[in-house]
């Protein structure tokens, strides 16, 4: 079942001279883990802002084409209605946090949805624990480090338990091990609870292994859209200059030099190490 669909979506910011996204037509299925990537300034963040209605309801500008999310026409439904279905974690956590304590920030969305008090307590604690910030619950968000703020932003969206979670470079301020833990939590929510995930990332080394679907953008347009292993192995992906995982790149180089590693294209170091052990065993 298609959960997010756009048809020829084109958007220009107020005062912008050219569209930030152009003729974007994509389909994202329910339960999929989709990775959106592409060079800096290619329109990834702009596309995410369309998924929860920030465009066109908050950002003015000119939107053309069609977009529906969870069966709702985004152009006709206000943000608060879309927010019941789509949670967005912003690139910069400071743009998202405002309450006096971490706990209040995480509870804010639930209060607005009118969730009963007991359930609210449970969901807030669940989200704080999942993101590893339970001990910070009494602290003021603005006093926290960039990495801690990102965890708060993620927790506040997880607590809403939306059908779709859209994350725009959600771990850029986190150290790799903490980032890995967060991605594993998101991956688990996707696998176990069937939450649809849309993740914007440059660091494919860390994230490609989780994706069932990858979309590559360049200059506002969709240039590649499909199965991650196939796409990241393609010559086109390399030429656009997306950061293909080192394991995939090394696999390509070795195959080209005549090493037989099999048809299964690796996306992570573990996968390539297994192939190498097999190919080079005595």
């Amino acid at each position: 079942m298609v959960l997010i669909e756009t048809k020829n979506l084109t958007y220009t910011y107020p005062g912008g001279t050219k569209p930030s996204i152009r003729d974007v037509s994509i389909k994202i299925d329910k339960g999929e883990f989709t990775l959106i990537t592409g060079p800096s300034g290619c329109g990834k963040t702009t596309l995410c802002r369309c998924f929860n209605g920030l465009i066109p309801h908050f950002y003015q500008g000119e939107l053309k084409g069609e977009i529906s999310v969870a069966g709702l026409n985004v152009i006709e439904h206000p943000i608060y209605e879309l927010a019941k279905h789509v949670g967005l974690v912003f690139q910069n956590p400071e743009n998202q946090l405002f309450a006096l304590s971490v706990e209040k920030d995480v509870a804010f969305g639930l209060e607005n949805l009118g969730v009963p008090r007991e359930e609210m307590r449970e969901r807030v604690d669940w989200a704080l624990n999942l993101t590893g910030i339970y001990d910070l619950r009494e602290r003021a968000p603005h006093e926290l480090s960039g990495g801690q703020q990102q965890r708060v932003a993620i927790a506040s969206v997880l607590a809403m338990q939306p059908e779709v979670i859209v994350l725009d470079e959600p771990t850029s301020f986190l150290d790799p091990l903490s980032a890995k833990k967060i991605f594993e939590v998101i991956h688990e929510l996707n696998r176990k609870l069937g939450v649809t995930v849309v993740l914007v990332e440059h660091r494919l080394d860390l994230t490609a292994r989780y994706a069932d679907h990858i979309i590559i953008m360049d200059e506002g347009k969709i240039v590649l859209d499909g199965e991650p292993r196939e796409i990241l192995h393609s010559e086109e992906a390399r030429l656009i200059g997306v950061g293909i995982p080192k394991a995939t790149r090394l696999y390509q180089m070795l195959e080209k030099d005549g090493m037989k590693l099999g048809k299964a294209i690796p996306l992570s170091s573990d996968e390539l190490a297994t192939l190498l052990k097999e190919a080079l065993k005595a």
Binding site: D175, H202, G243, S269
Partner: protein
């Protein structure tokens, strides 16, 4: 040259961020400071331009103690680009943003004009000269912040997480620029979580953990030492991860470069196929 002698620093809220740090960074060095969130990396580098002053110990920049001069004076030689560009950008256009510090430092208008154009071109921002920084994407804003510091040509450059939001090509340009700094005997310090970027540059790596420096050496040594990496909770670069798993093939362990990895693996393949005959 930066000299740090047994520095301790505690924030007003009681958090002990530095617990006895000593180091020397010579002119022309390229250093990456790595470690978990909260290890003290940003606190340490804020001592280098005098934004923070030690509670105990000394920080000397070009033989001058940072407590004896103002941040404004230090800034002329020490350029600092913050982790979050929104903490640093405020002008109406990208051009004005880059020219701002140059005006403050009293550069002549014709030089300002030339420097601004140079910085815009270097960071691929020429098309946004008249655009508001706040209209740009996160990655582009980060580059504007970088351009505004590079424009005044500081001798020491401190970049807090410079690769956030940058695509592969932008990172490669940054790497080339840092190499150029090095050739001019200028010092670049980056605070970063980006192990892949560090693996590609092979700088001197200082690993911090709980307010102390726990390892200091070439990236190729530090990022391939499983014991040190576990202690500082660092995920090794992918190439290193692969080689750490291939011990049964008697491969060397300290490999971080993809081209070197290819050579080694092809050699093993050749040896194995020769053995079969």
């Amino acid at each position: 040259m930066i000299e740090v002698e047994d520095v301790y620093f505690t924030y007003p809220n009681g958090v002990e961020a530095l617990k006895g740090v000593s180091l020397t960074i010579r002119n022309g060095e390229f250093v990456a400071i790595m470690g978990q969130n909260g290890a003290g990396k940003t606190t340490l580098v804020k001592h280098f331009n005098g934004l923070l002053k030690p509670n105990k110990g000394k920080v000397l920049v070009d033989a001058v103690e940072t407590t004896k001069v103002s941040v404004a004076t230090l800034s002329r030689n020490v350029g600092f680009v913050f982790q979050n560009p929104d903490h640093q950008l405020f002008s109406e256009t990208v051009e004005q943003e880059i020219a701002f510090a140059l005006r403050n430092f009293g550069f002549k208008e014709n030089i300002i004009k030339r420097r601004v154009t140079w910085a815009l071109n270097l960071l691929g921002l020429a098309q946004y000269r008249k655009t508001s920084p706040f209209m740009l994407s996160g990655g582009e804003r980060k580059r504007v912040a970088l351009a505004s510091v590079l424009a005044w040509n500081p001798k020491i450059l401190i970049l807090d997480e410079p690769t956030i939001g940058q695509d592969y090509q932008q990172k490669e340009k940054l790497r080339q620029f840092i190499l150029q700094m090095k050739a001019q005997r200028k010092t670049t310090l980056i605070v970063t979580h980006d192990v892949e970027f560090v693996a590609e540059c092979n700088p001197r790596v200082m690993l911090m953990q709980d307010g102390k420096i726990v390892a200091d050496g070439e990236a190729i040594r530090v990022l391939t030492d499983p014991e040190v990496l576990t202690q500082a909770s660092i995920v090794p670069p992918q190439v290193s991860q692969i080689f750490l798993q291939l011990s049964e093939l008697e491969t060397p362990k300290n490999v971080i470069d993809i081209y070197e990895a290819r050579e080694i693996l092809l050699n093993i393949l050749e040896k194995k196929s020769n053995e079969r005959f």
